[in-house]
Amino acid sequence: MPLPDDFRETTKHTRDVGSHAAANLRFIRETMESAGSFTAVSGWGQVVIGATAVVAAIVAARQPTRVRWLEAWLLEAALAVTIAGVAMAAKARRNGLPLFSRSSRKFWPAFTAPLAAGAILTAAFVARRIFDPLPGVWLLLFGTAVVAGGAVSVPLVRIMGMCFFALGVAALVCPPAWGDAMLAAGFGGLLAVFGVAIARRHGG
């Protein structure tokens, strides 16, 4: 039996209003994503990484060769990336926020480019058997990555990046023997201190 015109019109109208409401919600969400800062950085994740970095500094300092020393820190880097990934995913899930929002799409390229530069410089130095500048280079370029990514994040992240940057400069001018202590101060101390502040102010 054909539907009456009136009923069909009402159904179409209801559907239209529903799709307009959905478009409005989409608009609100997109505006919030564009305007929002990247706050998926997990403060508590940083605290855990800080603890593992202190252990890594102790272990690395006791290695008999420079290659073994490098391996210890590379292992710590892989562990830190895993912890950071898990912690950020957990924070995003807990706060009901998307891990890959519009601001995160701006954050990641800015953050990873200096890290990639750091990896290339590390490979180039190691190929020439040069190890002494590595702690300074790592701290400096990690600081650069955090400052660059921090442009779309909360101010605390940018301040943390600047502290890493300053520590990197200090590590480059300090005696090479201080390398592990500098790395412990940065990836252990700074990450943990700022991690607690980020966790308290920005939801975990």
Partner: protein
């Protein structure tokens, strides 16, 4: 979202409603927030402690005049608070979402969700 932008169908939807629905919808719908630019301002301020006039203008891609008019309407409704200061010699206008504005956005979101649920049932 600029001045020249034709009024969206969303904006007109309450007027398109059938008489019985129209009164109910209009009664519940917050017309202050329902307009696109104002909705954008409120949404942007909801995820920021404060935003300057320039930041809002760049974010929403609207003209100075358009943004001022809509921001003033929100201010009059008590949904945003405006503070004027100077950054060196340049005037700086900063907007914040008030508690009333946050409540209004929350109500609006509830309303939109209810409309979608009703449309799905229909």
């Amino acid at each position: 979202m600029g001045n020249a932008r034709p009024k969206s169908r969303v904006d007109r939807s309450p007027e398109l409603a059938r008489p019985a629905e129209r009164s109910a919808t209009a009664e519940r719908l917050d017309r202050v927030i329902h307009e696109r630019v104002r909705l954008g301002i409120v949404s942007a301020l909801a995820v920021n402690e404060a935003l300057t006039f320039r930041e809002l203008k760049s974010l929403l891609r609207v003209t100075d005049g358009n943004l001022s008019v809509h921001a003033r309407k929100l201010e009059r409704a008590g949904y945003v608070a405006c503070a004027k200061s100077f950054d060196g010699r340049l005037p700086r206008t900063t907007y914040r979402l008030t508690a009333a504005g946050r409540r209004a956005l929350s109500r609006y979101l509830d309303h939109m969700e209810a409309v979608i649920r009703a449309a799905r049932r229909g």
